[in-house]
């Protein structure tokens, strides 16, 4: 876009250049700045300030218990985190939980979305029912599942005829935690995918049907490609969310049996050990991971383009 003397605020994407603005344009631009200023100030206060403060803390030896020992120590906290075997263990645990639970949620969510899309009667009611797990408070859901898996009082070990406690070893703990996550978050996945399904024009599907395409071919060749932006947004949201998993693990076993996640480690370091420097370094690294995931999704798979999630 070539900049002209008059530019309506909000429509230009070119870099501001030193051009002669008319009084009116200048006034409009100033008005624009003033209108966005409150939002900008709030964003700086609630997002930028804590972020910068965390980064600053992560460069210090800052422990609430030893206030006299506070000092700037550069990147030592990052060195301590990255050189600790426990850090790479929790990264690995987090990756396992994220990949497995998001994959299952995607498959089930797609099935649920297709069912909700095709259903003819009581559409609103069925959608509302499907959303119930997502509406339940995460901690409550985690407690219910934890009781369900308990050997003495739960229905799951009883149903499966288990004699040993499934939650007392890593495999059982992972299964229980992942099932809880899947149960809780599949509706969210389904809802996002349902929005994507609405974008697929029926004419295309009918035309393909006339041409002799099977249901599977129509799904893979037409529905999925047209839904791609919605799929990527759904996967991106859920991956970012799953990567920060905390409540379910906290309720189940506080990270015992090799299920400690990055957020769980972050919590222990910050709130239990009161080591703000080290904990902030973990927070920043978690933030970096989340940034990388978002970047890969958006640049690598183009999640940001298309009809949904239009960004650039």
């Amino acid at each position: 876009m070539t900049s002209s003397t008059v530019t309506a605020p909000g429509t230009t994407s070119a870099k501001p250049r030193r051009v002669h603005l008319s009084d009116r344009a200048r006034a409009e631009r100033n008005l624009g700045f003033m209108l966005v200023a409150p939002a900008l100030i709030v964003m700086i206060a609630v997002t930028a300030y804590p972020l910068i403060s965390t980064i600053v803390l992560s460069l210090q030896r800052a422990d609430l218990r030893f206030p006299d020992a506070n000092k700037f120590i550069g990147l030592s906290n990052y060195g301590a985190v990255l050189s600790a075997p426990v850090w790479w263990q929790v990264v690995w645990h987090t990756v396992i939980i994220t990949v497995v639970s998001v994959s299952i949620e995607f498959v089930l969510g797609m099935a649920l979305a297709l069912a909700m899309h095709r259903v003819i009667f009581a559409r609103g009611t069925l959608r509302a029912i499907a959303l119930v797990p997502y509406a339940i408070v995460a901690v409550v859901a985690a407690y219910s599942w934890n009781y369900a898996w308990s050997l003495t009082s739960g229905w799951i070990p009883h149903l499966l005829g288990l004699t040993s406690d499934p939650l007392s070893h890593p495999f059982g703990s992972y299964v229980a935690i992942i099932i809880t996550e899947v149960w809780k978050n599949t509706p969210f996945m389904a809802l996002l995918l349902l929005a994507g399904l609405a974008l697929v024009p029926d004419e295309l599907l009918e035309a393909a049907k006339v041409d002799g395409a099977t249901a599977w071919q129509r799904f893979i060749r037409i529905t999925v490609p047209l839904m791609k932006p919605a799929i990527l947004v759904a996967l991106l949201f859920r991956t970012l969310d799953a990567f920060r998993i905390f409540d379910t693990i906290y309720i189940f076993n506080q990270g015992a049996n090799g299920t400690e996640s990055i957020s769980m480690l972050n919590y222990t370091t910050l709130l239990d050990r009161l080591n703000l420097g080290l904990g902030s370094a973990v927070s920043v690294l978690l933030f970096v991971f989340v940034g990388i995931i978002a970047f890969v999704f958006i640049k690598g798979f183009g999640a940001g383009s298309g009809p949904i999630g239009e960004s650039s």
Binding site: F66, H169, V282
Partner: protein, 387 residues
């Protein structure tokens, strides 16, 4: 003047009565307002330290778990007790509880109540309670072979209870984890303690839920009736009495089992101490109020109504207390010949290091546990490494 007292939620109302009576007796000098914290000791600590570190002046008196003293004192969150105040709240207090309130040679809190774990067993299954851990595991294995209820309930979940268990075993084996000057003393006694934990975990005596068992789950399992032995605090007595009369009828109690045959055990002391916040605007009134709150009449009420073990030795000999607490002599003996969890400002880190090394108990390697533990505790004490 209002004094804010932050304390664990005491369900019997004894603390509320104590606070009201003390306020009245002060003739308007102060009014104690109780603020209940969460049930879990970890959560209580998190709520308190956030406020204390931020210099919150709305906390005057705080109930501290016995293993927080060094941390709170070194961070200068609580005031030391001196002179007449110190003398008043340490007079007649049993040696174990008093030690938990002391750090670096100074008294930092007034002992409020104590706690110690006993062995609870089924009289119908076990005619003579075992004297040592190995005897107990042998007895349980024998019961298992006979097809009778045989589980041993211990707290094997990855939380403070695991540290309590390990520390009791190490102390009972004649060892210590840390010296008072925070030198690491982990040695063969730790290996011996770890070997007992591993032996239990591998034997049929272990509840299948050992790796997730906490005090409450142990108690529930006990009431279920599949359990022959339980290591737990005295709250299980009144709980079983209320919830499971048939099990209660067969409920016996004995000292915590020894590690070395013929040598009395040293069991990790629990309970709470009362500290006065550095940021309290009325410290002198707060000291006075605490002196009132820990008076014998209040300890007696909390013991009889609420089941909290007193810290004053004289109460154990009173008939009314003996009736409510049939095992009073065992408790008193264990508080006199006690075990102490490591006293260090980095206690949260050290306990975490112990839990990391020993959880799950079924994977403990007694041959490497000493070196692993030394290494982990060294990292914990430096408070610079990730745990």
């Amino acid at each position: 003047m209002t004094l804010n007292w932050y304390v664990f939620p005491e369900p019997s109302g004894s603390f509320a009565t104590a606070a009201a009576n003390c306020s009245k007796a002060s003739n308007g000098a102060y009014q104690i307002k109780i603020n209940f914290l969460s049930n879990s000791s970890d959560q209580q600590r998190i709520s308190l330290v956030r406020r204390l570190a931020a210099g919150d002046s709305s906390i005057d008196i705080l109930a501290m778990d016995v293993d927080w003293t060094a941390e709170f004192a070194d961070a200068k969150w609580i005031r030391p007790w001196t002179g007449a105040n110190a003398a008043a709240v340490s007079q007649g207090v049993l040696p174990g509880p008093l030690k938990t309130a002391t750090w670096d040679g100074k008294l930092y809190a007034a002992p409020l109540n104590s706690n110690t774990e006993l062995l609870w067993y089924r009289k119908d299954l076990v005619p003579n309670p075992p004297k040592t851990w190995n005897e107990m595991i042998d007895d349980a294995i024998k019961l298992a072979k006979e097809g009778k209820p045989h589980y041993i309930e211990e707290q094997g979940a990855k939380y403070e209870g695991l540290t309590v268990w390990f520390n009791s075993l190490v102390n009972s084996a004649g060892g210590q984890i840390l010296s008072p000057t925070n030198k690491i003393l982990v040695d063969h006694t730790s290996a011996r303690a770890a070997a007992i934990m591993r032996r239990l975990a591998d034997s049929p005596a272990a509840d299948p839920g050992l790796n997730v068992a906490m005090e409450g789950t142990s108690e529930t399992a006990w009431e279920h009736g599949d359990v022959a032995f339980q290591i737990n605090y005295p709250f299980v007595w009144s709980a079983a009495k209320a919830d499971s009369p048939s099990v209660f009828k067969q409920m016996g109690y004995a000292p915590f089992p020894s590690v070395i045959p013929g040598t009395a055990p040293r069991v990790s002391i629990g309970g709470y101490n009362l500290g006065v916040s550095t940021h309290s605007p009325h410290p002198q009134l707060a000291f006075q109020a605490v002196r009132c709150l820990v008076q014998p009449v209040n300890q007696r009420r909390a013991a009889i109504k609420g089941g909290l073990a007193p810290v004053l030795g004289s109460i154990y000999d009173e008939p009314s207390f003996a009736k409510a607490y049939p095992f009073h002599a065992l408790i008193k003996a264990q508080l006199e010949h006690y075990g102490l969890r490591p006293q260090t400002p980095a206690y949260a880190d050290v306990s975490l290091a112990i839990q990391d090394t020993l959880s799950p108990t079924s994977s403990i390697d007694p041959s490497t546990v000493v070196s692993t533990l030394r290494n982990e505790i060294k990292n914990a004490l430096s408070s610079k490494a990730l745990l």
